[in-house]
């Protein structure tokens, strides 16, 4: 973490170029910290950390926490907290597992494996999360019970509702289509990944172009053209590099052989197949884009940040802050459900301890990602990066062979340190 410190210390000298590129310095610091973590572990593990296989695993392990962290940003920005996300994830996971293995087959007579089952289960899960979240929001917004208390209660309640629903049993295996959302069981393959990468590149380029055109239209100052091109190159390299790395992770030969055998075919000599982008990661990317648009470009997002910055001002501007609170918690609930899809699909079953301590990981991810507990400040990409940094630390230490208790001690210390660095940074730069 010393790397982060040197990064922010060095930053002012280079301010001009970053200023020209209009890149957020804090984001740069976080990326710097992340790269530093990766490099250090790569050295410590003799190059095993930065292999396509490990990067693939890192991304699918991060998704569940990252999905919830995007919602936690809104919660914390409005000066609330949600301690119940891990428990809510468990309840949603339990509901979905029971829906697909017990309720639908028994009540509606849909055979396990029926093509509709995963979709109905996901729908039921999302609805459960949404309703429970909205209920939390109602208690916080309209009945004025502090969010800390509501969700602390929720932590106990929903963890044990999950237990009650499943009688504490592990429910699985889950539906095969459902499992595709987990990671390794559902990937796009090489061609699909390149297509997605290409579309993402086009989208990013168009985004840059549209933003510039809009600024020119209103006569605002714009970046020099070389800066735009540099930015486009960096973004393009990042997107295509990411796809290339995930495509470089190939399905092990014996797994392929088994697949061919099951289909009654012989595997051709020298046949290889890439995993490519996992569906869960694609889901996270879409979610990140959607949540960023919600945060920056919708009235809802604007009101979330205004309320976080000054609740009285928001109220006096005619914003219905109580209803806003309900909506924010409902969104958080739905994201817990989405996260539950990914988490239980990755494990291929619902287990009683699913999502345990996730509330702390999610809050830590949001806070490491620059979300201020005082409210009003936070970004979606920061929270996702925060989740990625946490996961890298955790799996890096596991690979190096650090004892489990030490791992948690380090992660806890990093959280506190990250907030300290953030406070110092904010003081020096004077605000956001």
């Amino acid at each position: 973490m010393a790397q982060t410190d040197t990064n922010s210390g060095r930053a002012p000298a280079r301010k001009n170029i970053f200023h020209t590129l209009e890149i957020d310095l804090r984001l740069l610091g976080m990326i710097g910290a992340f790269i530093a973590v990766c490099l250090v572990f790569n050295v410590l593990t003799d190059g095993r950390f930065l292999t396509p296989r490990n990067i693939f695993n890192l991304t699918i392990q991060t998704v569940s926490v990252a999905i919830m962290a995007t919602g936690m940003v809104f919660i914390i920005v409005t000066r609330h907290i949600d301690l119940s996300v891990g428990a809510l994830l468990a309840t949603c996971s339990a509901v979905m597992a029971m829906t697909q293995t017990e309720w639908l087959p028994n009540a509606l007579g849909l055979e396990f494996g029926h093509p509709l089952i995963p979709w109905i289960a996901i729908g039921v899960g999302l609805l459960s999360g949404l309703v429970i979240g909205a209920f939390h929001g109602y208690l916080v917004g309209y009945l004025a019970i502090p969010a800390f208390i509501v969700t602390l209660g929720g932590l106990l309640v929903w963890r044990n509702v999950a237990w009650y629903i499943t009688s504490g049993k592990t429910i699985g295996p889950l539906d095969e289509t459902f499992q595709k959302f987990g990671g390794i069981n559902g990937t796009l393959g090489a061609t699909g990944s390149w297509i997605v990468g290409g579309l993402a590149l086009l989208g990013a380029l168009y985004g840059l172009y549209a933003a510039r055109r809009n600024k020119v239209k209103h006569g605002f100052p714009v970046k020099p053209v070389w800066a735009e091109f540099l930015l486009a190159t960096i973004i393009g390299a990042a997107i295509l590099g990411f796809v290339a790395i995930l495509n470089a992770y190939e399905v092990p030969t014996r797994v392929l052989q088994r697949t061919f055998e099951r289909a009654g075919l012989e595997m051709p000599e020298g046949y290889t197949q890439s995993y490519g982008i996992p569906i869960s990661v694609l889901l996270l990317i879409f979610l990140a884009i959607a949540m960023t648009i919600v945060a920056r470009r919708t009235r809802f997002g604007r009101y979330v940040f205004a309320t976080g910055g000054n609740p009285d001002a928001a109220e006096l501007s005619g914003i219905n802050t109580r209803w806003l609170t309900v909506k924010i918690f409902a969104l958080m609930g739905a994201l817990c459900a989405l996260s539950a899809v990914v988490a239980s699909a990755r494990l291929t079953n619902h287990s009683n301890d699913i999502g345990t301590l996730d509330e702390l990981r999610v809050i830590a991810a949001a806070v490491i990602g620059g979300t201020a507990l005082a409210g009003g400040i936070g970004t979606i990409h920061g929270a996702i990066l925060g989740a990625l940094i946490m996961q890298s630390l955790q799996s890096g230490m596991a690979m190096v062979g650090v004892d489990a208790p030490l791992q948690n001690i380090v992660v806890g210390s990093v959280l506190v340190l990250a907030v300290l660095i953030d406070i110092v940074y904010r003081k020096r730069t004077g605000g956001a």
Binding site: F220, G308, A314, S317, A432
Partner: protein, 257 residues
């Protein structure tokens, strides 16, 4: 001037017999005030006299326990700030009511964002509009992309004023608009008030400063302990008369009898 207004012209605002209490304290106790087009009415009184509370009832932040509000001759129900804004009532709060983490344009349009055809917030259009109005109000204002926490007191004040003026207010409430300002900026606010008055806008001006009131207002309503002491034409009274009303709660006319 006040004579002309009272004959036949519909008042912009009439607040009749307004009462509100908080936990048994009568913060506003049977108070009636009115406001005519192109007029500035000063609201005077000590801290806790109830002037800010009275005005917050008009701006929708509080709801009166009893009494009626008539806007342009029609009975109005104002239950939240949105209702007030819909009636073209704009307020500049003493606290400015700005979200410090947002930039000037976001604050100016807070609650009334300009949107693209897709329903997304159109930041560039809002910034363009903000630049236009700021060019008129405070040409020195340049920090369009910084959060308002990075602005000086005067700049923040101009954001709050711009917000009230931009949306074609017909009734403007200014709560201590010059409290945090230097002499130059205070002068700018005075000029703005004159200008708005000339456009036919009615202004309630809450102030501690008797000189401000004597200079800017046409009439003054004085409150003490939640009750209205009286409303006078500023031209008919002296500073001392007003002081007597504020401190002793006695009307000059009554004293003369």
């Amino acid at each position: 001037m006040a004579q002309v207004q009272k004959q036949g012209v519909t008042p912009l605002v009439e607040m009749r017999d307004i009462c509100i209490s908080f936990g048994g304290v009568h913060a506003v106790d049977h108070v009636s005030v009115d406001l005519y087009p192109g007029e500035v009415v000063g609201l005077l009184g000590h801290n806790g006299a109830g002037k800010s509370t009275l005005i917050k009832i008009l701006s929708g932040a509080y709801q009166a326990d009893s009494g009626e509000i008539h806007v342009r001759g029609k009975k109005a129900t104002i239950t939240n700030p949105r209702d007030a804004r819909a009636l073209k009532i704009e307020t500049i709060y003493q606290t400015l009511a700005l979200a410090d983490n947002l930039d000037a344009a976001s604050n100016l349009f807070l609650g009334r964002e300009l949107v693209t055809p897709l329903g997304l917030v159109d930041d560039d259009a809002m910034e363009a509009e903000t630049r236009k109005i700021m060019a008129k109000l405070n040409p020195n204002f340049k920090k369009f992309n910084d959060p308002v926490s990075a602005l000086s007191g005067g700049q923040r004040q101009s954001v709050a004023i711009a917000r009230a003026v931009y949306f074609d207010a017909q009734i403007l409430i200014m709560d201590e608009p010059t409290a945090a300002l230097g002499p130059h900026e205070t002068q700018m606010v005075s000029e703005l008030i004159e200008q708005l008055k000339a456009q036919g806008i009615g202004i309630f001006l809450i102030s501690h400063d008797i000189h401000d009131v004597m200079k800017l207002c046409d009439r003054a309503s004085v409150m003490k302990n939640g009750q209205l002491v009286g409303t006078v034409d500023v031209d008919d009274v002296t500073d001392d008369d007003l002081l007597g009303m504020i401190i002793l709660g006695k009307k000059p006319g009554v004293a003369a009898d």
